[in-house]
């Protein structure tokens, strides 16, 4: 085969497809982040190994004296409610990463991480749901204390603020405690961003403390300055949270109960077109499964089996009888 044959073959086969530039840009940056995390982690492990080697004698003596008094037992703090794509876990800094499947228990001392295409939902003690966005690393320090190294975590502590279990999210710049709420904590190179979807949160750092209320977005710069803005309880800002929502078991659940779940996940209020429709929603008992469906899809799937219809618009789920026109704004 001569040079001109090669040219003919190449021309006949046509050019190789070029990936879309937008995807190339997006993946170049997200994978760069992932690569840096791999490098940082390897360096940390090496440092740890050197430190361990250097201090082994001292550690042995110290452990002999102190371990009986200071060893904290590993405590199970919850389970992985649902993993979406790449979710990994390891025990401490020296452990090996393992893929984390649904139902796996999560214990103190463990580190959870999602890849650039992964997300995960944790069911923690006290009914708290914590969700990890893509490219997030979270350490479980205690049953009521999570440390976020990078990425974003969303916390839903339940609708009842009085009975909400305590939880502290520790970031490199300070920590957040909720007062019965739904909120997001995102750590980036430029600082920390807090978005409060419902209820209130308290931010604490060496520079002082601040409160955030529903509909507020707080940005904490590297120098500790706090900026405030507004964020809606629904819409694009919460898309990843909705996508990472764990499935709900609807078997035996009332339609009203299911609606409450969907409304909470979507950040919407519920409006019934009449008292009769509200009563009917309370009386309808659901059977079957909506596993694998996102909240909006689940809502649509469930309502097709009833005599009612639900329309999601402008932060509201409007429920009407099948014959009545659903109201849009």
């Amino acid at each position: 085969m001569h040079e001109h044959d090669i040219e003919r073959v190449l021309k006949a086969a046509g050019p190789r497809e070029k990936p879309p530039a937008e995807i190339e840009r997006e993946l170049r940056e997200s994978l760069r982040h992932e690569w840096r995390a791999v490098v940082t982690e390897r360096r940390g492990r090496r440092r740890t190994a050197y430190a361990l080697a250097a201090g082994v004698m001292a550690a042995a003596i110290g452990a002999w004296i102190a371990v009986p008094q200071f060893t904290a037992p590993v405590q199970e703090v919850g389970t992985i409610a649902q993993s979406f794509g790449d979710l990994r876990v390891r025990s401490g800094w020296l452990g090996r990463w393992q893929e984390a499947g649904d139902g796996r228990s999560v214990a103190t001392g463990e580190v959870l991480a999602t890849g650039p295409a992964g997300r995960g939902a944790l069911a923690l003690a006290g009914g708290i749901s914590a969700r990890l966005d893509q490219s997030t690393q979270l350490r479980v320090a205690a049953a009521d204390r999570l440390i976020i190294d990078r990425g974003a975590v969303y916390v839903d502590a339940g609708a009842d603020s009085a009975s909400a279990a305590p939880l502290e999210i520790v970031t490199p710049a300070g920590s957040v405690r909720h007062l019965g709420t739904q909120y997001e904590v995102r750590v980036s190179n430029s600082g920390v961003r807090l978005r409060v979807r419902e209820g209130r949160i308290e931010w604490s750092s060496g520079a002082g403390s601040a409160m955030g209320v529903a509909g507020e977005e707080l940005t904490i710069a590297e120098d500790g300055r706090i900026g405030r803005g507004a964020v809606a309880s629904h819409g694009e800002a919460w898309d990843w949270v909705v996508q990472a929502a764990p499935a709900i078991d609807i078997e035996g659940l009332s339609l009203a109960g299911f609606l409450g779940w969907a409304a909470r996940e979507l950040g919407c209020s519920i409006e019934f077109s009449s008292a009769g429709v509200a009563q009917e929603a309370a009386a309808v008992i659901l059977h079957g499964s909506v596993a694998g469906l996102a909240p909006a899809q689940a809502l649509e799937a469930v309502f097709t089996t009833t005599r009612m219809q639900a329309v999601v618009a402008n932060g509201r789920i409007v429920v009407t009888g099948r014959d009545a026109p659903a109201q849009h704004d």
Partner: protein
């Protein structure tokens, strides 16, 4: 004919991996530029041309490859190894989303062809040109280009499809004209050998089969 490797040179693969794991930004750029487009093209037809699915699978594949890079033993070329990860990621993606009701089996995935293209080891008595359509054979030729060391495929495309001069190719690769000339010669040889091993006796007539 014994198996011959025209996949990436293993010492270069290992060097690239060492530099990446050491935190060399330029190494990351080299890795991304070399592997992203090829893995994308590898995944796209296996996901029925679904661009969104391909983005997710390629992202998951390259992320996993970077995390497992320290364990890469060089038993195959780096690209072949990444493609193995990509195959598994695509299957997992399809299972998880159940988006594709049609099971995509590409010509590249037929056992004989896969063995040939993974190791560039010729399947005996296998007539690809007559067994498959022109479009599929054209795609397989482009897959062969992707399996060559990345600079080879790019250099051949720039020279013979885009009509760029050797000087321009040298500039693009950051090497001198003589080095570019030499690289093109090696690229032609590698491409010719790869075609012969994948298409067997039909390699000489592959351009005719493609309607050229």
């Amino acid at each position: 004919m014994g198996p011959r490797r025209v996949d990436q040179d293993l010492s270069t693969d290992r060097q690239l991996i060492r530099r990446m794991l050491a935190g060399d930004e330029q190494a990351y750029e080299t890795f991304f530029n070399a592997y992203f487009p090829r893995v994308y093209r590898f995944a796209l037809p296996r996901l029925n041309g679904d661009v969104e699915a391909t983005r997710d699978v390629v992202q998951a594949t390259l992320a996993k490859a970077m995390r497992k890079m320290a364990d890469f033993r060089g038993e195959s070329g780096l690209f072949t190894w990444v493609c193995q990860i990509c195959r598994r990621e695509a299957v997992d993606y399809i299972r998880a989303r159940r988006r594709h009701t049609r099971n995509v089996v590409l010509i590249d995935d037929l056992p004989d062809v896969r063995r040939a293209i993974d190791t560039i080891e010729a399947p005996e008595e296998y007539d690809l040109v007559r067994s498959h359509g022109r479009a599929e054979v054209g795609r397989l030729v482009r897959s062969v280009l992707d399996r060559l060391p990345s600079n080879y495929g790019d250099a051949l495309e720039w020279k013979y499809m885009e009509g760029r001069s050797v000087e321009e190719i040298g500039q693009r690769l950051g090497i001198g004209t003589t080095a570019a000339q030499s690289l093109l010669a090696r690229a032609r040889t590698a491409f010719r050998e790869a075609l012969e091993q994948v298409f067997g006796a039909d390699a000489a007539d592959i351009a005719g089969s493609l309607g050229a």
